[in-house]
Symmetry: C2
Subunit: 456 residues, 2 copies
């Protein structure tokens, strides 16, 4: 049997590794194509490498091409697959270095092509110094630009989502003068509700990053082929480097061209085994697929490393004759912006409204440890619960150290569709170094329960 | 209407405060008796106050007698209730300072008498310098002894449970030469499985505390009325102070004498509203009650501040005509021993066996953050899952910073009777400062799933 994998990062190589673990080289041949220069790396770590918290590029690489080859995977680096022939079970790949084309037949195919940063038309010009942040090749390009001559002194980050705020902080740590342009009223406006986003904005500004909200970008100005400024209706913002943090789009064009189903989010459609819908032997995983939101039931595109790894593993187990499933996501995410930890799970207010829920909210301030215990710091929790039923729909946390990972308990509660009233009884851990005697999660559940009662 | 409360700490005063919140002074009279000198304090904070991490006694007090009186609660300090007449709805209390007796009638009674440290016969002699650690009065007595003359230089802590290890560390921080005597094979032997307890023992020893396991105590030796040593079959262990960490017993004798039901654990029996079984108007909460283990269904006595607060609140809401419930516990607990964080939820192997479960286990080592991210530290997670069904029965975590609070996500999973297989799909938060791309909880769930498959 022969498996062909398109894409050598988290999803594709997780699938390959799982399949290899179950079927030895005598039973399964594996060929993998990767158009870039790296395999199995942590794209999420790029901002920390740029910012200097992580010294070494190699630290971001979980498994090198050599390691994969040792595991019996025929890995073709710098090869881009250009066509999939589902009828004849064959792919065509171009050798980006040596030139020429190769053809490989397959019994099973794993489609794991990832995603590409959204790049508006004005950013597609010839000016150099404009970067998206998606692949490790993107990361090395940014690193080279920052280390190059003339040394960049000003940076503009466009888009205040996770990648945007993380990259803004990284640039600041590199000593650049940084401006963050965000089109909505608050950074992380897609991720958290406005009052939580306001806390993020305050923290970023406190570190010395200029944050411009409700910003519009007209284009770029360049000199000598290098970007010099971002042009806005309010004037030019100096930029020796521009980083795009406008989100990513699934790389599904190749799949679409092969007649594979692409959903409303632009991602490839699969079932919960990660089998591409309507096929028997084609699997897809990672940033190129759409998945299901388990609360709303709607298709969503959530490009996160944790999902890519899980989906790849599931695809690999199933194609090798096992059984595993990836039922969907509930929108959990976390980031650290300067010293501020920000986390969310489930639905924001906007998402809940969009999904047709009536809901109540509760916002509480508490502390990470008992108030009297050294190192206690303030944290804010917001809960969103369905009106009447009190079912927990979503949660957001902002705080300093030890705040954000508490979102996991809330994520498990959302996953299990707990009501906030039942949550008030939850047996969560308590000791003074870890929580006040009423854990912030419990205080929030109590307040949300009161809001549910008041609304019914 | 008149409410009488017996016991002025977490459970009793939470009940009183909730009742007061719902019914003003015009509708509800509240009389509360407390035999000690403090109200509404954090007993869990005592070791940190003794050890010096918390400067001030007052920091441990959430609400002083004066604050309660201002809220319209007629609080009688240093009054010990000596009898309850359920037929005539009356209590008798002795004034421990002024002498004499008072009688108070009630419409509702809250029984919140707490617990008392287990004190073996050999520790009940006349030697001074032997302390349990349960009330803040106990805490001040220890503090005075440590500050007194002659200054204690050696300490023996008997019993290696939470309180024992926390007090051992506190004594060490006070500069004493500390020995911990534990009768079982590992400290925290009732709390965690042996291989996890071994990590705790290693950490304690690493700090300079002598840990003697499988220790037997024959008695104490004293001189001039002061304790001098703990006598063991292996010889005398010098002890200018002895701290008992042998657990606590519910103070249910007063209830039993009044004909109220006491369960097999020695705790007062209540329903989920915290109403004493067989009564209409008597409520009980806190360390004096027994509750239900939600996994085994068995009655258990779990004296923890977090339960006392919840139970008191529930009792107060219900007696004031509202509705709230405390369904039971799942055995979640956490502590910090030196730099080691230790947490558990659900059942240990011993408890699972005792409850008649067949189970599989998984033990994984991972890191608190992405391996490449600064400050990542090692953590160990153990899961116990029912054989065949894979239902998560229990979890234990040991690690450094940021490890233990992850038990909450596992506690919510146990609470919801998730299978470890479903847990592998959980949408937990991931970003390099917070977790590896496979969160340790997910890795453990994967390994436990493999164990379940292998066993079926």
């Amino acid at each position: 049997m022969k498996l062909v994998v398109i894409g050598g990062d988290a999803a594709g190589m997780s699938a390959a590794s799982q399949a290899r673990k179950r079927l030895g080289t005598d039973r399964l041949e594996i060929v993998a194509f990767e158009r870039g220069r790296f395999t199995s790396y942590s794209a999420c770590g790029i901002p920390y490498w740029i910012g200097g918290a992580v010294d070494d590029l190699d630290a971001l690489i979980a498994r090198s091409p050599e390691a994969h080859r040792k595991a019996g995977i025929d890995l073709r680096m710098r090869h881009e697959v250009t066509a999939i022939d589902t009828a004849n079970r064959e792919v065509v790949a171009r050798d980006l270095v040596g030139g020429g084309e190769v053809r490989e037949s397959f019994d099973h195919l794993v489609y794991a092509t990832g995603a590409t940063p959204v790049t508006p038309e004005w950013a597609q010009g010839p000016a150099s110094g404009v970067f998206g942040v998606q692949t490790l090749d993107d990361g090395t390009a940014i690193q080279e630009w920052l280390d190059g001559e003339p040394a960049p002194r000003t940076a503009v980050v466009i888009g205040g989502g996770y990648i945007g705020v993380e990259m803004a902080e990284a640039m600041l740590k590199r000593g650049l003068d940084v401006t963050l342009l965000e089109k909505s009223a608050q950074p992380m406006g897609k991720t958290v509700d406005p009052e939580v986003g306001a806390l993020v904005a305050e923290a970023i500004r406190g570190q010395g990053i200029k944050v411009v909200t409700e910003a519009h970008v007209d284009g770029l100005s360049a000199a000598g082929g290098r970007v010099r400024a971002v042009v806005t209706p309010a004037g030019e913002v100096p930029a020796d480097i521009v980083v795009l943090g406008l989100g990513v789009r699934p790389n599904s064009a190749l799949a679409a061209a092969a007649g594979l189903p692409v959903g409303p989010t632009g991602g490839v459609r699969t079932d919960r085994q990660m089998r591409v819908e309507g096929t028997e032997n084609i699997w897809a995983a990672g940033d190129c697929v759409e998945t299901r939101h388990l609360i709303t039931g709607e298709p969503v595109h959530v490009p996160l490393g944790t999902h890519a790894n899980k989906q790849g593993r599931v695809a690999g187990i199933n194609l090798a004759g096992g059984y595993a499933s990836f039922p969907g996501v509930i929108g959990t995410a976390v980031t650290k912006v300067c010293e501020l930890e920000v986390a969310r799970t489930g639905l924001t207010e906007k998402e809940a409204t969009h999904a047709g829920y009536e809901y109540v909210t509760a916002l509480v301030e508490s502390t990470s440890r008992a108030g009297y215990y050294p190192g206690a710091s303030k944290m804010t929790i917001k809960l969103i619960a369905e009106r009447r039923t009190g079912t927990l729909l979503g949660a957001q946390i902002v705080g300093k150290a030890e705040a954000a990972k508490r979102i996991d308990a809330l994520a498990v509660a959302v996953w299990n569709r707990m009501s906030v009233e039942e949550m008030t009884a939850l047996d969560l851990s308590y000791a003074p170094p870890f929580a006040p005697v009423w854990d912030p999660v419990l205080i929030a559940a109590r307040k949300a329960t009161e809001a549910v009662h008041a609304a019914t």
